[in-house]
Symmetry: C2
């Protein structure tokens, strides 16, 4: 396990990235205190910027936790909405309450259950955000390809998997991430890049 | 001077990023052989993706070198065009020839001379790309703010300045980059983020 980005650089970028939203700050605190893996503020800001740029009608998340990334998406949305999917009812309940407090409830749908099965019920997805079990990334994108809109964005978290992608590990999560990355970079349906923020964010633009 | 992103991670991302365009490969080779600082393939791919997403009519570069970043922009453009600005006539001559060979000449304007003065002659800039002398970043963006279109993107290279932004250095380039970053993150006209690819790419979305 290696530091993907130099620690001082991360601190510098965090100092620049002032945050005044009390709900985001609370979610970041809960993440730290419970060691719950959220995308963090720097990735959250990247999601916000990409959403402003894309102006999507429909964002679907595969694996929403208690709603930190979805909160960034919702704040950036114009007319669109974000669908949260999550197994844990308690997490979704927390997200619902945070969105209600922020006046963002109308921009979100909260779905408890299997992420991919839920997502498969939506068509013309403009942004698909993948942050579920790592060995499920590749089957998920293959299954949901027909559900993506023209010029959709696929954004996947943990695609550098704490540096394990550079090691000769054979566990199913490391292999899953490596196979997913190779698929996304080789598939001519996508133009892909990985941004080495936190644990690596793959961003893929659907060509056509 | 520190490695912003772990070397193995960079190598992993480069292995994924196959490139078959002989002109890009030639420009990368020239960069290595002459130690000429080009944005590199990973940043080039990010520029390509952002351009596809934004679909801009007008991109203006401040500091084009021999055209590597402009080449990525041009490949991604739909109906728009990219303006290259550069002091060195020999660099612009090289860029012109590369664009001609690639059939991209109609998507580009080649301007020799002062970058900011040239850029000031254009209005409704959709993407402003800054890669000139580092102490000039801040005066350049202040000067060109009225020339930016609604929801423009400002993309600036070298904004982590080989890690010097984290050190207590007082040279004008380090100070220039630090002041530029602070301005871009604090100015409510922009929503900014830095992507720690190569030497740090600041991406700012103009709000309104």
């Amino acid at each position: 396990m290696i530091a993907i980005t130099d620690r001082k650089i991360n601190e510098y970028m965090m100092r620049l990235s002032f945050e005044g939203d009390p709900l985001l700050l609370e979610m970041e605190k809960i993440g730290r205190e419970n060691d719950f893996p959220i995308v963090d503020r720097l990735v959250g800001r990247l999601l916000y910027l990409l959403t402003r740029l894309k102006d999507p009608r429909l964002i679907v998340e595969l694996g929403s936790g208690y709603g930190y990334s979805a909160f960034w998406f919702a704040k950036a949305l114009g007319r669109g909405r974000v669908v949260l999917t999550e197994y844990e009812e308690a997490n979704i309940a927390y997200a619902k309450e945070a969105f209600r407090k922020a006046g963002l409830s109308k921009k979100a749908e909260f779905r408890v259950g299997d992420a991919v099965k839920t997502a498969a019920g939506y068509g013309k997805i403009d942004i698909l955000f993948i942050d579920m079990d790592k060995h499920q990334y590749l089957p998920a994108i293959k299954k949901l390809l027909p559900n993506l809109n023209r010029n959709a964005l696929v954004i996947a978290d943990n695609t550098l998997w704490y540096g394990r992608v550079t090691e000769k590990l054979r566990d199913r999560d490391t292999l899953g991430i490596k196979k997913f990355n190779e698929y996304m970079f080789k598939n001519p349906a996508f133009f892909s890049t990985i941004v080495p923020l936190r644990d690596g964010v793959l961003i893929a633009y659907k060509v056509g």
